[in-house]
């Protein structure tokens, strides 16, 4: 997980507190309710230029930061200028 992603996820967690978000952080436990999930979804889709298909928008995808990151990595394609 890159620092940008961690920062982005952390902003949507009411109870992230001082502890660093890791791949194993359980997002629901840290306050990611249904509305915050939508906000996080929109934010990561904007930031990474991807659209997560409906089939991947499951409880499992939003269970941990690592799960969401994995889905993003699968979808993210390199941009023409090679920046991603």
């Amino acid at each position: 997980m890159d620092a940008e992603f961690v920062a982005l996820v952390t902003r949507h967690l009411r109870y992230a507190g001082a502890g660093a978000v890791t791949a194993h952080s359980r997002l629901r436990d840290l306050g990611l309710d249904s509305m915050r999930s939508i906000e996080l979804l929109f934010a990561v889709e904007d930031a990474y230029g991807v659209t997560i298909p409906d089939e991947r928008l499951t409880d499992a995808t939003f269970e941990t930061a690592g799960n969401l990151w994995t889905v993003l990595q699968e979808l993210a394609t390199p941009l023409p200028d090679g920046t991603r």
């Binding site: 109870y15 629901r28 436990d29 840290l30 309710d33 979804l41 409906d54 499951t58 409880d59």
Partner: protein
Amino acid sequence: MRPVDGDAVATTAAVAERFAATADERAAFPAEALRAMRDTGLLGLLVPTVYGGGGGSVGDVVDATVELGRADLSVALVFAMHCQQVAALARYGGERLREHVLPAVAKGDLYLASVTTETGTGGHLLTSESPVALAGDTLHVDRRAPIVTGGRHADGFLMTVQTPGATTPHQVDLVFAARDQLTVEVLGDWQPLGMRATESVPMRLAGDVPAWQVVGPPGGFRTIAATVFAPLAHVGWSAAWLGTAAGALSRVVGHLRTGKRVDPSAELLRAHLADVRSRLDVVHALLRHTVHVLETAGDTTAAPVQLLVNTLKVRAAEECHRAVDELVDVVGLRHGYLAGSPLRLERALRDLRSASLNYGNDRLRLAGGALVLLDSKVRLA
């Protein structure tokens, strides 16, 4: 094993009906109907046969709840919520907990109440501000709840508490405690508009229980809620409301036919009756379809399934209340509005007014709006 059949339901419904007026008047728990559920085996309907229960399906719970709802909404709600607890135990309880609890439910010795409300969480099911202390293998629970349906009469409780060591209120466990493991205090009165016989009093439950009485893994309530608690609550409540509205229509039709009190050619009357009936048919179709989807869907937490379950709850609450409201217009003030009328529309209307509040329709709409955005293809369940 005692078979659970139509007789068990009919017997319990008959008892419920006999005591419904008194229970409503006194806002007192339907003790006689609970006795009938224990004696007939109905209390064990959802207990798997391996534990001596009826091995019933969600569809069987719906059938029984609708019938009980025709007689007394409070009895139907009490039954449906008990079944919701049994389903959670049967699916997520460890083997030791299941062995400990389910045979007693099947024998009719264990009526289970649900303790999920908290003063501080504003009705949010998935959070808890009730910490527990874990010492060795023992959990010390001290739980206050503003509304515990049937709590004064329950033999055991399933309560939501914070996971031991939780750092946020979103880490929630479901814990079983038998009544004799707890100090049980009733903290106040119950004087509502309707569903009065649920006797949903505020309580404090405190005591020590072994850690194996936690249902599911630590922090596991979220999954239990998504897969069992929420779907069964909404299905069970909807069945109860549908039964009450169907019972009201049945009494009105009987009144209109036997008394020859009306002119059947009156167009307004016929239009109203058709409206009422169609409201019930729509709820019934939605209810049965939802049960089918829950029984066949691979992932019941998928957005289309959750949306369907929420829609059932919201629409059943609205349509059943409106149906009885409309029946009051059909039969008028004397037969429809007076407390002593044998048509009992006044009580049914008061009872059904609670439907939109019993897990708030407004809250479900907000959750639904978020879920709609997760399903851009609109995959209809």
